[in-house]
Amino acid sequence: MDFSKVALDDGQAAFAREVGEFFAARVTPDVLDAEERSGDGFCEPLHLAMGERGWLLDTWPETDGGAGLGPVEHRLLVLGKERTGLPFITLDTTRLVAEAVRRHAPEESRRRLMLDAARGTVRFCLGYTEPEGGSDVAAAATRAVRDGDGWVVDGAKMFTTGAHNCQYAFTITRTNPGVRKHKGLTMLLVPLDAPGVSVSPVRTFGGERTNIVYFGGVRVPDSLRIGPVDGGWGVLHDRLDVEHGLGADAAALALDPPSVRTGYATLLARCVDAVHEWSLGDDGRAVAADDLRYRLGRVAIEAEAALSAPGHYGRVAASRALIDGTARLMELLGQDVLLGAEGPAAVPLAERAHRFAQGTAIYGGTLEVFRNIIAEQDLKLPRPSYPA
């Protein structure tokens, strides 16, 4: 057990300063405003500047376009990014797919895709969910049919966030409808500028712009197939997070938060801090009534518990805490909520978080999917038997 601050050596301390200065110089109020309006989860100049330093695929060796960062430097970079408050959706999806490319792409396309992704000129979005499919991505109906040395893709993918800023969609296609649903899937990188692709925006009330992407007879060369034909499920279930690739030595340092969704709890904790600040008098003394402090305390407690929750428990705990906690904070702020951006700092922060929170119940699978996983894998409750 160890929750100590990590002591930095001189090189690491210098790197931490470099990261701080890099983001401070580039994440200007204009950049934040532009993100607020677009909901893109992407800022091209920032993305390319990070690429120039090898900071997109930062733990990859320099020869692959990365910066060869060690685990401590990697975490410093992640924390520097998170501190900006910007969503890095397209960077996150690009990193995930780039790792799949590194492991599974055919030789002829692999190197070029890796280098371009690391430089930032090639970005990837995810083509998993379908309009009729929800969280059951294995039920994909988007077809890919062999045609000479390539594939022809027909179908549609929903929640393809970032597609309008990306070059490829990492797409689950059904290549064999004659076998059980998990067995007939193949992963293709569908070029988003190919004839037959259309990208339509979908706005969420979380402020994010996502998309629906339609594929009508889209031709994809076989060199953009990632992994074996009908072996897509295995590619999807490979541990694709780049952190995992840092190996056992890095894991022993325990620098990663306990869950991949701990960030939701961090966001709630920042909202708690801001509302706490709002509740104090101008001289920083506690002035709020005990009932208000009690209610704030309850949210603070939920945030801390969610910050500690591991693995898929953390997926459920952090999302639930954020959804419930931000609703309670909005109540606490009362009519100040209606002051908008002119109001105290807590208002825009909590207000955005409250809207964003609702989407966290869905990202990467719904909370119900994760409750099923906890029930079956951890509690060993019997699996329900459904007809399909």
């Binding site: 990590v6 325990a254 305390g297 019997p382």
Partner: protein, 362 residues
């Protein structure tokens, strides 16, 4: 507070800690099955079990080696308390550990060594209507209290011996609690701010150990409910296949894992960086109190009418948890202490005032 500090998130237990848990778990499954808990009756104390645990070294574990102790960390004591809670062991471990550690700071040589094995009670809060509530005070012959009027000057930390405790009653809770009035035999260990500070630290330790006990109790309650859900059928399927049953169970499992981890982090921070995060210990305690109560309520109701019978094991855990929560006082006070902790953190970082205003410029 800097929420983006580079810290480790290492919740793992050491080999020794895993060994400690495994030895204790084996011991308790042999010597403290549910019928032993029931046999301890409404008093909720099994002196033979206490002696056996003493032979394992538990009574002195948290004391320095000079007193025959093992100098165990507070984290180790939390692990022990959770195991004792898991077995609903009828022994006043939290009282004894908090009080004996406190006493050892003032009276390292006063008491003959044998006395350190005898359970000591601990007055968690200020006196109530009938004196000081000592959670283990119906079975201890001494107790440490922070005396207030009329017993003595405000902020007088005292060791009381041989009071005439009046039993405290919470039906079916099996809590060996008693109300203590000021006895003739009292010695003052500290006064004034020092007394308040020392008692506050011991109270935090008591509360963390009790939170661990609660999480242990709830874990056993959950395991029983899960077993029931696997073996009880409705319309030809185990009830555990219904999401109306499995999802509440998944949610309480989530709360208990979260609560256990928060408790580890709060305890580690208190022990290794006292003062850095004063909000965490009360947060862990308030969370454990609520998560345990909710978990055991769910565990009772998942088992329908059977969970409601006194014969069911879950009833033991449900009722015991309520007694322990009451013994620590209103958990709402812990919630307010969390915000006091946030105030203190804010005061310690004057430069950060206004850091939250970054969004104002947007």
């Amino acid at each position: 507070m800097d929420r983006f500090e580079l810290r480790r998130h290492d919740y793992s237990l050491s080999g020794e800690q895993r060994q400690l848990i495994s030895v204790l778990r084996d011991f308790l499954s042999a010597h403290c099955p549910p019928d032993v808990v029931r046999a301890a009756g409404p008093l909720g104390y099994d002196p033979a079990l206490w002696d056996r645990l003493g032979e394992l070294g538990l009574a002195r574990m948290g004391l320095p080696a000079a007193l025959g102790g093992a100098g165990a960390s507070l984290v180790d004591l939390v692990l022990v308390a959770e195991e004792l809670g898991r077995a609903a062991a009828p022994v006043p471990f939290a009282d004894h550990a908090a009080a004996s550690r406190l006493l050892s700071r003032y009276r390292p040589l006063a008491a003959p060594q044998a006395d350190w094995d005898e359970p000591i009670g601990f007055g968690v809060r200020e006196p109530g209507a009938r004196g000081h509530l000592i959670p283990g005070g119906a079975v201890t012959r001494s107790a440490i209290v922070l005396a207030g009027p009329p017993a003595g000057p405000v902020g007088s930390l005292e060791l009381w011996r041989g009071g005439q405790p009046a039993p405290a009653e919470l039906p079916l809770s099996g809590l060996p609690a008693a109300w203590w009035a000021c006895p003739g035999d009292r010695s003052v260990l500290a006064t004034g701010d020092e007394a308040v500070r020392a008692h506050g630290r011991a109270r935090t330790e008591w509360k963390l150990l009790t939170a661990a006990t609660l999480i242990g109790l709830a874990g056993t309650g959950l395991a029983g409910a899960v077993e029931f859900a696997k073996t009880r059928y409705t319309r030809g399927v185990p009830v555990g296949t219904l999401q109306g049953i499995s999802h509440p169970l998944a949610d309480i499992a989530t709360a208990l894992v979260s609560g256990r981890h928060l408790l580890y982090r709060a305890t580690w921070m208190l022990e290794n960086e006292p003062g850095t995060r004063p909000d965490l210990a009360p947060a862990a305690c308030a969370f454990a109190a609520r998560a345990t109560a909710d978990a055991l309520e769910t565990a009772v109701h998942v088992q329908g009418g059977l969970g409601f019978t006194l014969e069911s094991d879950v009833s033991l855990y449900f009722l015991r948890a309520r007694g322990l929560i009451a013994a620590g006082g209103d958990p709402g006070r812990d919630v307010l202490e969390v915000v006091d902790g946030l105030d203190a953190i804010r005061r310690a970082e004057p430069a950060s005032r206004g850091a939250g205003t970054e969004t104002k410029t947007r």
